[in-house]
């Protein structure tokens, strides 16, 4: 049963990766983008990673799992904004990335204080 679940997950992940990498994208897939094929593949792989993070947020058994997954999702969004800034040649996407990293750091510190205190509440 366990081996079957591992095999199913691996096959699904490899199939989605192959679909992202070997698909031929139409030319007008992203507007105003130089090198549209590379941009579409990179952005789809970041979105696949974010989907795995969302799985852990939805299913995580404890609250520490969810907080950690939100932190990782923030770092992934910084990478997404960096790729968008590179391929569209507009610099202010990286401003969004820097601001998001700052907010995510402060939110993680606040949530960790919440985790530490919750023993006294119960």
């Amino acid at each position: 049963m366990r081996a079957a679940r591992w095999a199913l997950g691996g096959v699904v992940l490899l199939a989605v990766l192959a679909l992202i990498i070997f698909r031929t994208y139409p030319v007008e897939f992203l507007e105003n983008v130089s090198d549209s094929d590379f941009a579409a593949r990179a952005l789809y792989i970041v979105l696949l990673s974010a989907l795995l993070c969302l799985f852990r947020i939805a299913r995580g058994p404890t609250s520490a799992d969810r907080i950690m997954a939100i932190d990782i999702l923030g770092i992934l969004i910084v990478g997404f904004c960096a790729i968008m800034a590179a391929v569209t040649d507009t610099g202010w996407y990286l401003d969004i990335g820097i601001a998001w990293a700052l907010q995510s750091f402060i939110a993680s510190l606040a949530f960790s204080k919440y985790l530490e205190r919750r023993r006294f509440d119960a």
Binding site: L13, F38, C53, R56, G79, A82, A86, F111, Y114, R119
Partner: protein, 120 residues
């Protein structure tokens, strides 16, 4: 030439991101998941930002902002991960039952209380 170097670095970073998130789904415990995901995703995103620095020409505004973002991520991501793991341990969250040792508990005696229990 710089564009090709930037694309290679962005590809390496995407691989690290994907493997880190796979570890986030697959590993059995909060502390294991935190270690795998934080290290892999931070390194992968720093590689993506370095690739953006090379891809967009080095001395442009986008490149300088990418270097600033690398500095910021390297400073803040390990601090956040350490704070989350310390908070979870002090809040009484147990480690995975296959764990060998827990030296923080032996040294300080914190984290013995009733917690939510470890994931199986």
């Amino acid at each position: 030439m710089l564009s090709i170097l930037g694309k290679v670095l962005i590809g390496v970073g995407l691989g690290f991101d994907l493997l880190g998130c796979l570890g986030l789904v697959r590993l059995p415990d909060v502390y294991n998941r935190l270690q795998a995901a934080t290290k892999c995703v931070t390194l992968g995103t720093c590689s993506i930002l370095l690739g953006v620095f090379f891809y967009s020409g080095m001395a442009t505004g986008t490149g300088i902002k990418a270097l600033l973002c690398i500095l910021f991520l390297v400073l803040t991501a390990p601090v956040a991960a350490h704070a989350i793991s310390k908070g979870a341990h002090n809040g009484g969250l147990r480690m995975w039952k296959g764990s060998v040792t827990d030296e923080y508990l032996e040294d300080t005696g914190k984290g013995e209380g009733e917690g939510e229990g470890a994931a199986t």
